[in-house]
């Protein structure tokens, strides 16, 4: 499409606004232009946080000599020409106002040459002054922006410090690089290399290059499709969490978005597998058909409105949950370093936990079912032409019904049963791990983690049904600190659900009249004290569900501690109960309950192969 000026009506309809507020905005717009121009390499160079200069050089399409003038006009764009085009938008820019806005407030030097021409342009812009010369360059576009806001002293005065701006810019480029692993980004800040991505269209390599080895080794590859939704990218293992949300990246159709609802949905998918106040890391791209999105809600384009949002959120959560769970039904990686022969077994177990790469046969069956169902669904839809034709927005209707049919059968299929099928018990090591031998693999069960998981699910179900069994005890009075007392009294109902019967005794003294029975073991009042010690009394207990879960988790942890020894006789029943768990693969805190090692891996260790 050639560049032309949008008609006034269209231009007005597109939400305008101040696009350029600081150097990051400039860089964002320029990089987006480069991406729109199909570049595979983008070099960014900033000096003093961009205040002095920023140069973005790409190897993209370039601009035709004849169109160079137009590029700097307001509402000049080659990307859309009427409002309806927005519905099928695939490019990042579309308002045609970035270059003109930047030109108005800085000094610009642009070198560009299109692949279609043998000559390019050198453009120099400074206020009303424009200079254009024909020159030959290597293909692509290089734009240098100097002295930003030189003509708006008010803005200039309120600019952040160069260092802070540099930080923002680094984050921005991280985002853009992660959403475009097919493009090689290179960022120089004050002559120092900060980011350099390979651009080999491998997101994992991109992640490695930006965040380093530890991070890269702790994320797992996911691909979840529930048409028309497609989620791809990497999610952190439940065991690899952060205490902030800085490493949560969400892209919609490769566009970075700040969407707390989506982030929340994803965090919820990790529910009861990670610790309270810890956050998972993820770098995910969500592909949604453009007609289901409204990107035109905020000029910086980082906010997006999704049509049918709640349904999409549900699907996202469901999809991620499935993947997180699958991923922790642990299998040990097939890639073993050759020089690791001396690594001790336990170290090995800790280090080498990586996701399963193959699906169990059961899962495949389900997936096929899903497909068939979807097909049937689609067929029914087509057989009912009335509905499709007459509906104002037939696409959405279809999508909803497809989604729903897929949801019904999204229940997990037990991989653990397959794992333990045909294995024989070998023994217990370090009083902690239980070994089982299979045909060409071994399973190592962490009995504590397993026990905690069983207990957790048992208690959760009982609390939900209100069927927790309480052993009445000869009342015990305990004096607490005022804050602990307050915590107990104001959440008496919750503790009651978990099986503790409490009574106020006054003077910060609580009277314990009943204790829970967990899996046939009568607890004692000491457990309650352990739980309150475990729970931060300053914690916000207004989120009942979260708080309840916290109490349950803490109960499991503390109850297991009290019954540390598991007899050999109990092991059999332990595994049986574990296989019955809804999610048997990790303890409620995210540690694996068992890992699997193949004979192959042993042989590699002993250098047999």
């Amino acid at each position: 499409m050639a560049i032309r000026v949008l008609d006034k009506d269209t231009a007005d309809k597109i939400a305008a606004g101040e696009v350029i507020t600081d150097p990051t905005a400039v860089i964002k717009e320029l990089i987006e232009n480069s991406l729109d121009a199909h570049s595979t390499r983008i070099d960014i160079d900033v000096v003093d946080g961009g205040k002095k200069s920023m140069t973005i050089t790409d190897n993209g399409d370039g601009i035709l000599v004849d169109e160079v003038y137009l590029a700097f006009d307001r509402h000049a764009t080659s990307k859309i020409n009427k409002l309806d085009d927005l519905n099928e938008l695939t490019s990042l820019g579309f308002r045609g106002e970035a270059l003109s806005s930047i030109a108005a407030i800085s000094k610009i030097t642009m070198k560009t040459m299109s692949r279609q021409e043998n000559i390019g342009s050198l453009v120099k812009l400074c206020g009303e002054q424009r200079q254009v010369q024909k020159r030959s360059f290597s293909r692509g576009t290089s734009i240098r922006v100097e002295d930003l806001f030189y003509n708006i002293p008010a803005r200039l005065k309120h600019m952040k410090k160069g260092n802070d701006l540099s930080k923002d810019i680094i984050q921005l480029v991280e985002n853009l690089a992660l959403s475009h692993p097919n493009v090689s980004f290179s960022l120089n800040v004050d002559g120092r290399h900060t980011i350099r991505t390979p651009g080999d269209n491998n997101l994992h390599n991109c992640i490695f290059s930006i965040f380093g080895n530890e991070f890269g080794n702790n994320v797992i590859d996911i691909k979840y499709e529930n048409k028309p939704l497609l989620i791809t990218g990497y999610i952190g293992k439940p065991s690899y969490t952060r205490n902030n949300r800085k490493h949560q990246y969400i892209f919609i159709n490769n566009r970075f978005v700040q969407d707390n609802k989506i982030a929340k949905a994803i965090e919820e998918a990790y529910e009861n597998m990670i610790m309270i106040n810890q956050h998972p890391v993820f770098i995910l791209n969500i592909s949604i058909p453009p007609h289901m999105l409204d990107v035109n809600v905020h000029p910086s384009k980082t906010k997006i409105k999704i049509l049918n949002e709640s349904l999409v959120l549900l699907l996202i959560k469901d999809g991620i949950k499935k993947k997180v769970r699958e991923s922790s039904s642990v299998n040990i990686s097939h890639q073993i370093k050759n020089n690791t022969a001396q690594i001790l077994l336990d170290e090995y177990v800790q280090e080498k936990i990586t996701p399963i790469t193959s699906y169990s046969t059961n899962t495949i069956v389900t997936q096929t079912q899903t497909q068939t169902q979807t097909q049937t669904q689609t067929q029914t839809q087509t057989q009912n032409p009335k509905q499709v034709n007459k509906n104002v927005n037939p696409k959405d209707e279809q999508i909803i019904s497809k989604f729903q049919s897929n949801l019904d059968i999204s229940k997990d299929v037990s991989k653990i049963l397959q794992d333990f099928n045909d294995t024989t018990y070998i023994g217990q090591i370090f009083f902690t791990y239980i070994l089982f031998e299979g045909k060409d693999f071994i399973l190592i069960v962490d009995q504590h983690a397993a026990h905690e998981r069983i207990l957790f699910e048992d208690i959760t179900i009982k609390v939900k049904n209100g069927s927790m069994v309480t052993q009445q005890i000869i009342p015990v009075n305990i004096k607490l600190s005022p804050s602990e007392y307050q915590l107990l009294i104001s959440n008496q109902q919750l503790f009651y659900k978990v099986g503790f019967e409490l009574e106020e005794f006054g003077d910060n003294t609580i009277c314990i009249r009943g204790v829970p029975i967990f899996l046939n073991k009568t607890q004692d009042h000491k457990l309650l004290i352990d739980i309150i010690e475990d729970i931060d009394t300053k914690i916000d207990s207004s989120n009942i569900a979260k708080f309840e879960e916290m109490i349950i988790r803490s109960s499991c942890k503390k109850a297991i501690k009290a019954n540390e020894k598991l007899s050999y006789k109990e092991i059999d029943s332990l595994i049986e109960q574990l296989t019955l768990c809804d999610y048997p693969y990790t303890c409620p805190h995210g540690r694996p309950t068992y890992v699997r090692m193949t004979k192959n891996e042993f042989e590699k260790k002993f250098k047999r192969i």
Binding site: I454, V469, T470, Q472, I473, I474, E501, L519, S573
Partner: protein, 368 residues
């Protein structure tokens, strides 16, 4: 030190004092038994500092002296000796020479003077109690002593003497066991004795041929005497729970039931209960019938027993273990169960008399 005794006497004495020897001590000398000849008597003694046992060994004394010999070693060794006279002689460097027929051993011992002394329990008042009564009082209460240390005082039993009545009381938070008997001495006592002391006492009393046990105590020690065997134990400090307050006085339901029938029904009901599943038994007392139910993943059990109910009908649930524990040690044919509500304790009493009172706290559950 030099004396002659028989294998049987030696084995018997070693077995008695060995009960006080601890195998997880930080003081190596406490892993041994003290052999001491003094004032024309041969003593054997073992202690873990909480409990000390001293006994006399009959024999012919040639010379005095003392030595500490590993308890493990000596008991193994004595057991293997032929049935005959045993000659023990202490040589230089605490080496004990043991001869019996053709066998001869030398055992390295330790200086007997380094062995701690048993605390002296001098009390002008000594209570005498029938040994069989004493044994059953222990047996019928000791199972209710608290297994964990959360409330330290509950790891022992209260021995209370008042008005010629002796009471043993044990409770662990979920249940209470009280057994009482008559004695002739008119003194008062209220002390808490560690569970371990009582269980060793029970075993020692079972070995003894005497028919009474003498008890005396000082501020923090208690002495039990069975003939020439002295068992001294530390007492637990602190206030025992006011057990009278816990036992409900006004019941609304009284049930007379045959112990053997109730026990076997409870046992059958809890058979269904497997590892990790609930060991709940639910009781429904109605129309002179007791219905016992338990369900687990393996199935449901329904037991019915004819009983005599006086008062209101009641539904109540228990941890089957607690119920079975009690029923197992009751020797009466019939007992009385008393209830007030489904969340208050059940009291078990003899049909006649007041020898014992058991109390079990129920389990609260939602019947779905």
């Amino acid at each position: 030190m030099n004396f002659i005794t028989t294998k049987d006497d030696l084995l018997h004495s070693v077995n008695i004092v060995q009960k006080a020897v601890s195998n997880k001590t930080t003081l190596p000398i406490l892993e041994g038994i003290l052999f001491k000849v003094m004032d024309n008597t041969i003593y054997l003694m073992g202690t873990d500092l909480e409990i000390g046992i001293k006994t006399e060994l009959p024999g012919k004394i040639n010379s005095q002296g003392s030595v500490v010999i590993s308890a493990k070693l000596i008991s193994e060794l004595v057991r293997k000796l032929p049935d005959d006279d045993v000659f023990l002689e202490l040589n230089e460097n605490y080496i004990l020479n043991i001869k019996c027929l053709n066998s001869e051993f030398n055992i390295q011992g330790q200086n007997g003077n380094e062995f701690p002394q048993l605390p002296e329990v001098h009390s002008d008042k000594e209570i005498s109690i029938n040994k069989e009564l004493f044994k059953s009082m222990i047996k019928e209460t000791i199972f209710s002593v608290a297994k964990n240390e959360n409330i330290p005082i509950l790891t022992g039993e209260l021995i209370e003497i008042n008005d010629g009545i002796i009471k043993f009381v044990a409770l662990d938070g979920y249940r209470l066991a009280l057994r009482q008997g008559k004695i002739n001495d008119n003194i008062e006592l209220s002390e808490v004795v560690p569970e371990r002391t009582l269980s060793e006492l029970y075993r020692i009393a079972s070995l003894s041929t005497l028919d009474s046990v003498q008890i005396s105590h000082t501020k923090n020690q208690i002495l039990f005497r069975l003939g020439q065997t002295h068992i001294v134990s530390r007492l637990l400090e602190g206030e025992f729970m006011n057990y009278n307050q816990i036992i409900p006085q006004n019941s609304t339901t009284k049930v007379k039931v045959n112990v053997a029938e109730l026990l076997s029904s409870c046992e059958r009901a809890s058979l269904m209960v497997r590892d990790g599943k609930s060991n709940l038994i639910k009781m429904n007392f109605i129309n002179n019938i007791l219905e016992i139910k338990s369900n687990s993943e393996m199935g449901t059990v329904n037991e019915q027993i004819d009983v005599e109910i006086e008062g209101e009908s009641i539904k109540i649930a228990f941890n089957s273990t607690y119920f079975i524990d009690v029923l197992k040690i009751i020797s009466d044919e019939e007992i009385l169960l008393e209830f007030t509500t489904s969340v208050s304790p059940c009291v078990i009493k003899p049909n006649q008399g007041s020898n014992y009172t058991y109390l079990i706290l129920p389990v609260r559950y939602i019947d779905h």
